[in-house]
């Protein structure tokens, strides 16, 4: 459904007298299969939005190629526009008009006739539980209601693929769960969904496949289960004060049962071990011999954050 090769984009921005170049996206290769929910996971500034805007024809790539929904991004952007839907990270509605008016206009901008546009708007309002507010001005909506209108706008023309840039940011847990259901429903209707997120649980629970992006590059790709399986064994998180962390790291790094060790920015260590149950007593014994106070110790199965940590050396939670 989407195939990209070496997609690149840099921005020039002026800061005072100097012009700085930001390499926002530095060579992205992607394959998105039809009918899947594909997730783009990465910290702020990773280049997720920039990649999406390129794929949605909003900005021209500096280099690379892409086919989106069967159309060539560079040669036929007009055809790409007809086949995709795009929901931006920020809002996309006028304050002074109603959700129904927005949906009708948006459908008509895709060339849909007036009567059909009204029928589709009514269906979309019902599907996104907006009927109750449909004829109230958008400025009176709550954040979650506005977000639902944004997404309804993105799919009003029944595109083959829809890009959702952080669809659940700013939603309360209940609205988030609701949004997940709605996104799954789109998949059930045969739509391909491309979402970005920096929520680990969202990528884990919602996405069929994910790409982890950092500093404009894709650092890992696969199903959530595959990615986690790459990290064999268990993860032990050791809570320590910032001051004690380097000493503890030195002590533990040389232990045979520690496969890999990462230092956390806020203090503490994350240890990748083969067998958590046997490693914990050994860790305690090792630290007991020195005068290090540990505040907590925790054993868990590898999460996507651990995947991110091993690929980038940073935790997504901290960045």
């Amino acid at each position: 459904m989407i195939e990209t090769k070496g997609l690149r984009k840099s921005f020039r921005s002026r800061q005072g007298r100097e012009t700085k170049t930001v390499d926002a996206v530095r060579g992205v290769d992607l394959v998105v299969e039809p009918g899947e929910i594909f997730g783009f996971l990465g910290p702020n500034g990773a280049g997720k939005t920039t990649t999406l805007r390129m794929l949605a024809t909003l900005i021209a790539p500096d280099g690379g190629e892409a086919t989106v929904a069967g159309a060539d991004l560079r040669k036929d952007p007009a055809e790409v526009r007809r086949r995709i839907g795009y929901v931006a990270q920020g809002g996309s509605t006028w304050d002074e008009v109603t959700a129904r008016e927005e949906l009708v206009l948006h459908a008509r901008m895709y060339g849909i006739g007036k009567a059909e546009a009204h029928a589709r708007a009514a269906r979309a309002l019902a599907a996104f539980q907006l009927t109750e507010y449909a004829d109230r001005k958008c400025k009176t909506y709550s954040g979650g209601q506005r977000r639902r209108v944004d997404i309804a706008l993105g799919i009003i023309h029944e595109p083959k693929i829809v890009f959702l840039d952080e669809p659940t940011t700013g939603l309360d847990p209940q609205s988030r769960a609701h949004m997940w259901d709605e996104i799954r429903r789109l998949r059930a209707e045969g739509m391909t969904v491309f979402i970005t997120t920096h929520y680990l649980d969202e990528a884990d629970a919602l996405c069929d496949r994910i790409s982890i992006m950092d500093h404009g590059r894709i650092v890992a790709e696969g199903t959530p289960a595959e990615l986690k399986r790459e990290i064999s064994g268990d993860v032990v998180t050791v809570g320590l004060s910032r001051a004690a962390t380097p000493t503890a790291a030195q002590l533990l790094d040389t232990q045979p049962y520690v496969a890999k060790l990462e230092t956390l920015d806020e203090g503490g260590l994350r240890l990748f071990v083969d067998e958590g149950a046997t490693a914990i007593p050994q860790i305690l014994r090792t630290l007991d011999g020195s005068s290090i106070d540990l505040t907590s110790i925790e054993l868990h199965r590898p999460s996507l954050d651990d995947v991110f940590l091993t690929k980038t050396g940073r935790s997504l939670r901290e960045s």
Binding site: T57, I59, T93, L105, M109
Partner: protein, 254 residues
């Protein structure tokens, strides 16, 4: 055909937004009326040396100038609305659809042209009791000239707004453009009595030609060279402005 349909869609939405904003309607109608009722009487002594002694003559000079003034300023400040739209994300949302980029501009500029024409009609009608008389055919031609001016200035304003993307930059820019244009066009006072050097500078101001053309039409002098010259200049500039601004809509925006 797609262009006409798309332009109509954007025009409808923009008109709806205008009608939902009562403050705008108030400002748009009452400001020019104030000029007409409070400023024109002040001009009577000032225009006396030119032979305009009766109310009718004063309004025949002043009303066309006022109309051009409204067309220029009304147009130049339309960009502010567009910056608000940029921020709301509606421009980006429009740009992912296959809607014509030229229509994104024309739909907006047409709204500006129509609202200018409504203002122009109100002012013309209000000036009638003061003795303003003008032939319908001449008046329609004058309105055409005004529409072209509004099209040009609003397109320029939209194009600049898409370039600078912030009100803080747009406001001083538009003021700097508007001021010399205003002073050198003889809008409020004809340049007939200006020193020769000032008149030569004004010859380079396209709006000065447009004002002369409009005045000639209000004076019933269709045959005057100023009429076709003013029309030709504004048609060309309006076309240039539209092409340039439509390209700004097609380029990436954020």
């Amino acid at each position: 055909m797609k262009l006409a349909r798309d332009t109509w869609l954007i025009f409808q939405r923009q008109t709806l937004l205008l009608l939902r904003n009562p403050v705008w309607i108030f400002v748009g109608v009452f400001q020019p009326v104030m000029y007409l009722l409070l400023f024109a009487p002040l001009l009577k002594p000032a225009l006396a040396p030119m032979g305009a002694t009766s109310d009718a003559e004063v309004y025949r000079v002043f009303v066309p100038g006022l109309l051009v003034l409204i067309a220029i300023f009304g147009g130049l400040f339309q960009g502010f609305g567009l910056i608000a739209e940029l921020r709301a994300g509606v421009i980006e949302r429009s740009r992912v659809t296959p809607v014509s980029r030229l229509a994104l501009l024309l739909g907006r500029s047409m709204r500006d042209v129509v609202s200018l024409l409504v203002q122009a009609v109100i002012i013309t009608v209000l000036a009638l009791p003061f003795g303003l008389r003008v032939h319908v055919a001449d008046l329609l031609l004058a309105y055409l000239l005004l529409a072209l001016i509004a099209l040009m200035t609003s397109a320029v304003s939209y194009g600049v707004a898409l370039l600078v993307k912030s009100e803080d930059a747009l406001a001083p820019l538009m003021n700097t453009v508007a001021q010399p244009v205003l002073l050198l066009s003889g809008i409020l006072l004809p340049l007939a009595f200006a020193p020769a050097w000032l008149r030569r500078v004004a010859d380079w101001n396209p709006f000065s030609w447009a004002v002369d053309g409009t005045r000639a039409l209000f004076a019933g002098d269709v045959g005057n060279d100023a009429v076709w010259q003013g029309l030709l200049i504004t048609v060309m500039l309006a076309a240039l402005a539209v092409v340039w601004a439509a390209r700004a809509f097609a380029r990436s925006v954020r």
